[in-house]
């Protein structure tokens, strides 16, 4: 870009813009603040205000959003310090729905739910805005998910596969590794053309800062937007955070690209909404949540989608996170969100402390649509894996009764134990699809049966590094063909046998 623009040219452009500028006044509805507190203001007047409309407080230079429409007044949540707003202050309708800046300029940035940067890296020059709420795409604009969204986590990609455009819930008690799964999934999108949006709702600012640091460390901020609504922010900001993040992600969906959005977590989102609704004096329902909390979550998650080819074929995958208490998924918010997602990854404290990490309960976790998107090579190993593990769980229950076990059963148990060991995976070490396939391949084909349990992890590590250094063509072929042909399988078997000869227990 070496084109020089002369000052004369600039002034002539401005001049012509000025000449065509005709707007000389503005007509807006105005109202007065009746009462204010807890981030909520009640406004007298504003008869034509729409639900969700932005209103402006000129004296404070602050915005708010209309939430309640009553006969004589409207309830507004404030996107700023409520102590500055006084009774009698002027409020104006803007005729606009709350919107946020969107586009590539946001990538790599940490913003608040209004799209204002909070990372100290300067202004964001966004060229476009999108309303934070919109009607989800209809049936004809969609198509079933067909491409996989690789998490890089063996247990998930093999047994709970996620497709691009799917909504998969991550659910579990506190400190069970929910965020870890989301972060690994983001880290694994490197070079895969998926833009990620991580929405942090009601977390401590220090936790959010650590997450950003982690993403930076793995080069993941290069394709990620973080929307931060910390625990200290007013409830209305927490409430709009997921919708704002979704609008940012939709920009990529609409331009035929792929996006992944994480809502961490919707339990705190529901609590923020409950707090707001009680302050707005809406009638509380079950567990004191407002009656439309289900709608609040369903209209958000419905916006995840895989577009038809006619609409550009873009996708928006959503991974909402829900925190449970003592593993109870039957309380109000978990049951709601389970019913509006396409499956769930269920994490358990018990497993976590037994050292099974990620602490996924494979029996209770499902993915209802992702199977269609799973590549053939993965299906070739995953079928056996699921079967072996199911049998293992069944027999393990038996074995606990101390009954005499026959040889075949003992063999099944040993196989199962090794597979469980194989599915353990440390944080920040996502594997590529071919690597996952090759690791699971040795497990389900019995190559680990004679390896002591406590050597399985080392076996995996060494097998992986051998593959990378000596058999990159095997990995490449799986990546390309996406299946294991009989000829390739021969090569794989030879490679494993050769490796096993060298492997020192």
């Amino acid at each position: 870009m070496n084109v020089r623009i002369s000052p004369e040219e600039i002034s002539s452009v401005i001049r012509s813009r000025l000449e065509s500028f005709s707007k000389s006044y503005e007509l807006a509805q105005v109202g007065q603040v009746l009462e204010v507190g807890d981030g909520i203001a009640r406004i007298y007047g504003l008869e034509d205000a729409m639900a969700g409309e932005l209103v402006f407080f000129p004296k404070q230079n602050m915005y708010g959003m209309v939430l309640n429409l009553e006969e004589e007044s409207v309830g507004v949540c404030l996107f700023g310090d409520d102590s500055e707003v006084k009774e009698g202050d002027e409020v104006r309708c803007t005729g606009r729905i709350a919107e946020v800046p969107v586009g590539d300029a946001l990538i790599g940035r940490v913003v608040n739910p209004l799209g204002i940067p909070v990372d100290g890296k300067g202004e964001i020059k966004a060229d476009r805005f999108r309303p934070i709420e919109r009607i989800a795409p209809g049936v004809i604009e969609r198509q079933p998910v067909k491409e996989p969204l690789q998490t890089g986590i063996k247990a998930i990609d093999a047994m709970i596969p996620i497709g691009r455009g799917q909504r998969e819930l991550i659910i579990g008690d506190r400190q069970t590794g929910k965020t870890a799964i989301a972060l690994d999934t983001i880290i694994n999108q490197k070079g895969k053309g998926v833009v990620c949006v991580y929405v942090a709702i009601g977390q401590k600012n220090s936790t959010i800062a650590n997450i950003v640091k982690t993403l930076e460390r793995f080069g993941a901020m290069e394709y990620t937007i973080v929307v931060a609504a910390g625990a200290s922010e007013p409830a209305p900001l927490l409430y709009i955070a997921p919708y704002a993040g979704c609008a940012m992600a939709e920009e990529f969906l609409e331009t035929g690209r792929h996006a992944l959005i994480i809502y961490d977590d919707l339990t705190k989102h529901a609590q923020a909404y409950r707090e707001m609704s009680l302050l707005l004096r809406r009638p509380p329902g079950r567990e004191a949540y407002p009656g439309d909390i289900f709608y609040a979550h369903s209209r958000l998650l419905e916006r995840a989608c895989k577009y038809s080819d006619a609409k550009g074929g873009g996708s928006l995958t959503a991974l909402p996170i829900i925190e449970t208490q003592a593993g109870d998924v039957t309380t109000y918010i978990p049951t709601n969100v389970i019913s509006i997602t396409d499956g769930q990854i269920y994490l358990e404290t018990n497993l976590f402390y037994q050292g099974v990490r990620p602490a996924i309960n494979v029996g209770l976790s499902v993915s209802r649509v992702g199977g269609n998107a799973q590549v053939k090579a993965m299906k070739q190993v995953a079928g056996r894996l699921r079967l072996d593990l199911a049998q293992y769980r069944e027999m393990e229950a038996f074995a606990q009764f101390g009954t005499e076990l026959d040889k075949a059963t003992i063999a099944q148990l040993e196989r199962g134990r090794r597979l469980v060991e194989l599915l353990k995976q440390p944080q920040y070490q996502p594997l590529s699809m071919p690597e996952e396939v090759m690791v699971l391949y040795v497990g389900v084909n019995g190559y680990l049966d004679d390896i002591p349990l406590d050597r399985v992890k080392r076996f995996e590590e060494e097998w992986l590094s051998t593959l990378r250094s000596e058999y990159p063509h095997i990995l490449e072929e799986i990546e390309k063909a996406k299946e294991i042909s009989p000829e390739l399988e021969e090569k794989i078997k030879k490679a494993i046998e050769k490796f096993k000869e060298r492997f020192q227990v």
Binding site: F21, K23, Y25, E26, Q29, V30, G45, E72
Partner: protein, 180 residues
């Protein structure tokens, strides 16, 4: 608080329709404005009247005193007693405000507040009343305000709307247009 407006509206409407049927609109309006002014000057006045430990008879006596002092009409005196019995006296300022709006509507009048950067001249004022009176098809109760911040032009508040033709607004709109 929730029902403040509904309550004020109901009482104001009742009083207004009573006043209208008995040809007392002007009298009641001026009494109410007097009371509102008094309650503004002596803020404790309304609070005292809503304290529960003061017996109702004492309050009634007090209202009679006020009636004598201000020369209130019987209608307004009786209205005050009802408010006191129903424990609604603290809504009096809001009721007066609602009554005033009903009164304005009845007389085809409307409140208009005009903000200008400097005081309006008499000819500007007449022009304004002429144009806006025709536009709103009402007589105008004009309130004028000077605010140098708007730089020039005028801002007009009427019936819950703001017509902003100030120089300041114009510059803001221009800025938005240029940034785009």
């Amino acid at each position: 608080m929730d029902d403040k407006f509904l309550i004020a509206e109901k009482y104001a409407q009742a009083l207004f329709s009573y006043a209208k049927d008995n040809n007392l609109i002007e009298e009641v309006m001026s009494d109410l404005l007097l009371l509102k002014e008094a309650s503004g000057l002596v803020p404790d006045f309304l609070r005292w009247m809503s304290v529960p430990i003061i017996p109702l008879e004492r309050k009634v006596e007090f209202v009679e005193e006020i009636k004598r002092a201000f020369g209130l009409s019987d209608a307004v005196e009786y209205f005050l007693r009802i408010l006191m019995e129903k424990k609604r006296i603290r809504f009096l300022p809001d009721i007066v405000e609602r009554f005033r709006i009903l009164y304005n509507t009845f007389h085809h009048r409307v409140d208009v507040r005009v903000v200008s950067a400097r005081a309006l001249s008499e000819s500007e004022r007449q022009l304004f009343l002429h144009i806006w009176g025709a536009y709103l098809k009402r007589w105008i109760n004009l309130v004028e305000e000077v605010d140098e911040d708007i730089l020039g032009g005028i801002k007009v508040y009427f019936r819950g709307y703001l017509y902003d033709a100030s120089l300041k607004k114009r510059l803001e709109l221009l800025k938005e247009e240029l940034v785009r």
